[in-house]
């Protein structure tokens, strides 16, 4: 097991965004987290990566990491590709990618791997990241996260604001990443895409895990179909 939480909660002041979530992720497993706006999906990822404070236990490879600061968690292989990309707009594509390896040793092979995954980033490597298109910026954000050489890659809404063809491209890349043996925790609004991609899934509603199970089975679950797939 790569990661396991128990009674994991995230609150902002008095507002509890996530309540007592118990989730676990196995090695080489892709997990999807589905939920509406404000269900606590992003809070889950922010809490796991240490960007916001959380309560409860986080076991990573058997060790409790819940008191570690965010930069220590990145070092251990827990990397978040945040919502809205959060790239460094006035640096070039390549500078962004190199900064991705801030906590690990920069390896040229890793950079080449990212360029292979997203050839368009190689073409744009000298360009200022702020001038890239939305899709390219998303690829850059994923590429930058990969530069940290993660064990568990957490992605927050990678399809947000992208044209359908770019969404397909991003998910194609995620499939490729999954094949390299990475564990993936994917938070998505695009429930159909996410469930088709993932092995297992958790459904969040108002801060609570209300359903979990095999992603393909959830795709045919009546409640999921009516609430998240619009069928």
């Amino acid at each position: 097991m790569v990661l396991e939480t128990s009674f994991f909660s995230v609150s902002y002041g008095r507002i509890e965004a996530l309540k007592d979530a118990n989730i676990h992720i196995d090695e080489h497993e892709a997990i999807a987290v589905i939920g509406a706006n404000g269900a606590g999906k992003s809070s889950l990822l922010f809490g796991l990566s240490g960007i916001v404070e959380s309560k409860g236990l986080i076991r990573y490879k058997g060790n409790d990491i819940s008191s570690l600061p965010s930069h220590e968690r990145v070092k251990l292989g827990l990397t978040l590709c945040p919502e809205n990309r959060r790239i460094f707009p006035s640096l070039t594509t390549e500078q962004n990618l190199k900064l991705g390896a801030f906590r690990s040793k920069f390896k040229k092979s890793q950079l080449e791997f990212v360029y292979e995954l997203f050839p368009v980033l190689y073409e744009r490597k000298k360009q200022i990241a702020g001038y890239l298109s939305g899709g390219e910026q998303q690829m850059l954000a994923i590429g930058r996260a990969m530069m940290a050489n993660p064990v568990l890659l957490m992605l927050d809404e990678p399809s947000l604001g992208l044209a359908p063809i770019l969404v397909d491209q991003v998910f194609k890349a995620l499939e490729d990443l999954k094949k390299t043996g990475l564990s993936v925790l994917l938070v998505e609004q695009n429930a159909y895409k996410a469930l088709s991609f993932a092995d297992r899934a958790y459904i969040l509603e108002t801060g609570k895990v209300i359903l979990e199970g095999n992603a393909k089975q959830l795709l045919s679950n009546d409640r999921v179909r009516s609430a998240y797939l619009g069928i």
């Binding site: 990566s49 965010s70 930069h71 945040p82 707009p89 006035s90 801030f102 906590r103 702020g130 996260a145």
Partner: protein, 314 residues
């Protein structure tokens, strides 16, 4: 005329490098921590007083500089850890009010400890001014060009320091971390940057540069509680001018501001002479010129000359 313009240019650059280094500190703190440090000049002033005291006791200028920079570091860590960390989550205006309070506290502290009597700071370099006569073809009226040796040394020192700072922030790992943090806080944290450390580092570099600038001008201004008040204002203008998000911009903005200021004064001088106006002295308009620069910049190019357009913090 050529000599006069050249003279203004030289004085402008000598003056501008001081604006530049103040602007650098202000924009570094602003772009990283997100707060306009109103106590910038006065933090520097406290450091200069510490430096003066050590100089008075030991007669060693090197020790004085060292003590001043160390006191700046302690001050910066205190401001960051004891004050700013606590209100960070609240709002930017809370941090702003704290710096405003610090401005008053530092001034009061300096008055209590060292008094209001200006203290003499000895010349650091002790070069004599150079007087140059340009060849007749360029210099019809045969006016000499004056190059103050001490100012030239200060200019050289500051330019060397600015160059070092640019290299540090563009290429070193902690420098890159500060840059990444100023571009996007969440982005910096997800790649494993310790943003608490980058914030502390920015405060240290910001205040240390203010102290350094203060020490260099201390022989001219004397050491007194208001010695850096005006310079902070000029530094602020330099930062607006160059774009608050770019530290190189603030440096360049300072140099440009210095040159503009001196050239406009020269132009007004000539104009007043031509119109036989003797009631106004062009030098008195210095601050007005600077204010005008802020207004024009904010109207024409709000992001500053070198500011990036990806975010709208200013």
């Amino acid at each position: 005329m050529f000599v006069k313009v050249l003279q203004s240019l030289i004085f402008g650059l000598f003056q501008g490098c001081l604006y530049g280094i103040m602007g650098f500190g202000l924009s570094l703190i602003f772009s990283t921590v997100g707060v306009m440090n109103f106590a910038h000049g006065n933090s520097g002033m406290i450091g200069v007083f510490v430096g003066w005291t050590v100089l008075f006791l030991t007669k060693n200028i090197f020790l004085a500089f060292l003590a001043a920079i160390i006191s700046a570091t302690i001050l910066a860590i205190f401001i960051d850890k004891a004050l700013m960390k606590r209100v960070k989550g609240l709002s930017h205006s809370a941090m702003l009010i704290i710096t405003l309070g610090l401005l008053l506290i530092f001034e009061g502290l300096a008055v209590i400890i060292w008094g209001t009597q200006p203290l003499i700071f000895p010349e650091i370099f002790g070069f004599s001014p150079k007087i140059v006569f340009l060849p007749q073809s360029l210099n019809k009226s045969n006016i000499p060009l004056i190059i103050p040796g001490n100012d030239l040394a200060v200019f050289g020192t500051i330019m060397a320091l600015l160059l070092l700072l640019i290299v540090f922030f563009k290429y070193s790992k902690p420098g890159l971390a500060v840059q990444a943090r100023s571009e996007d806080e969440i982005g910096a944290r997800v790649i494993g940057i310790n943003t608490q450390a980058t914030d502390t580092l920015s405060w240290i570099f910001g205040i240390a540069t203010a102290v350094f600038a203060g020490l260099l001008i201390a022989p001219k201004t004397t050491v007194n509680p208001n010695m850096l008040t005006n310079l902070q204002f000029y530094g602020f203008t330099a930062a607006v001018f160059g774009g608050f998000s770019s530290i190189v911009g603030a440096m360049a903005g300072g140099l440009i501001l210095g040159v503009i200021e001196k050239l406009v004064i020269l132009g007004l001088d000539e104009l007043f002479l031509l119109l036989h106006i003797t009631s106004i002295n062009a030098v008195d308009l210095q601050l007005s010129i600077v204010l005008l620069c802020i207004i024009v910049t904010l109207i024409v190019k709000p992001t500053g000359l070198f500011g990036n357009k990806y975010k709208g913090k200013v």
